[in-house]
Symmetry: D2
Subunit: 145 residues, 4 copies
């Protein structure tokens, strides 16, 4: 039974801005990663534990659509959702929401596969059932405030 | 008549790697930006000149598909191509090629609009014909070695 | 009378690591900036308010001595202290402490001046007494747990 | 006999700027690293070869004094100089020069030690004479245009 998951939340840092005075668009890709790591910690499967078992989760693809720029020091929350998981491939959606006014600032998606340390794909279902179950449990789970 | 455009080329820097010992996936989004800036300089319309005229080119969307990781110090080239331009919206494709063995390491795409400094969209065709013409000239142009 | 100031605290993010599997040394300089911004917010003078009055605080110098590397996902706290303030120049010390075992991981220092938007130095004492007073009040203040 | 070494040279990238419209001060620390890597390649001892022998060169300390900010797309060169080398500790100075007008934009210094993969210090003189000799040869060498 899934526990309540919080969105990943923080402020835009000064060094994340660019000369347009907005958060540089590449940083949203980094925020998505932060959000995945935070999610895994909240569900009791910290990413470092996954890596300690010799599993890597390289990114296969990522995309982001920018709706409204985030400004320096603006507080935002990232709501992620696992949209696909079959034991080898994992996909997530992300929505970046301003905490100042609730604006949807960006939407994104990433896909990943599970591999060994040589980046060979592996199936988690039989070999790593504990990891498999976490992702299976949270497939489609809606994070809310 | 378009001049010969070179791909954007450099090596992976140490600080661009992560603990998987590969270039962090977010840096490809930055490389795409470097490539746009380099392209504009090569065609005689440096990005700072565009900004000096009060024009911004915010990113509307970006995506990247990762094929084979780049390693520290690996030389790569980015081949970009303008796939759409209508005076207000600009779209580009990118291919990241290893210079060590010719591998296709990543493919991506970005879309942009032209705006004033308040991020209001503007049409370049009538107001900035010099800028309009550059992008129109290079629409579909294939960068080759 | 100074209120209780908390240290700036968070975890090492995945994209902050490098191929030595430690936080890249340049990121400590960024953490010092985060800590300054966090400090200013805690004392009721957010950095954006300072900038809104047409004041900039460029960095004149920075240094860092690395004692023990921080690892991915390791929680740390940064304890800053204003060591000098004369109305025009501001200097701070920083100590980065691991929250896992209390290790001193890095020590640093930065110096800044107050300038207008053209980067001309300015004296805060007469022109911006509210800003002056904040820094004067906290000169030498010890942040503790 | 040392070969002619070139300074490390490139332009400021858009994503390296911050909302003050200058290169963010943390990036100078990264430029110093780029310059070390470039130097090692020029003298025929690429950093990846050093790492391949199980040697790491963590940073012990770094400092930078900022003289005049670099702007977006401004071309700069970094002149480094080995100021100390005793087989275990390595120290370098850096001068960042604008290629637009020759301004000294920043000066810095870094110190490093040679360690094994467990970050234990090691002496290069006996165990890695080829590496030792490179640094000994270039101690005090002046890079010029």
């Amino acid at each position: 039974m899934p526990a309540k998951i919080r969105p990943n939340e923080r402020k835009v840092l000064y060094y994340e801005t660019d000369k347009m005075s907005i958060m540089h668009h590449s940083n949203y890709i980094r925020i998505f990663e932060e959000t995945r790591v935070d999610f895994l910690e909240q569900v009791g499967m910290p990413f470092e534990n996954i890596e300690a078992q010799g599993i890597m989760m390289p990114v296969l693809s990522v995309d982001c659509r920018y709706k409204r720029p985030l400004r320096f020091d603006e507080r935002f929350a990232v709501f992620s959702k696992i949209t696909k998981f079959n034991g080898t491939v994992l996909e997530l959606d992300y929505r970046v929401i301003s905490r100042e006014n609730g604006d949807l600032c960006a939407e994104g998606h990433s896909s990943h596969c599970f591999t060994d340390n040589d980046l060979k794909p592996l199936r988690t279902k039989n070999k790593y059932p504990e990891i498999y179950q976490i992702f299976a449990d949270y497939l489609g789970y809606e994070i809310t405030d």
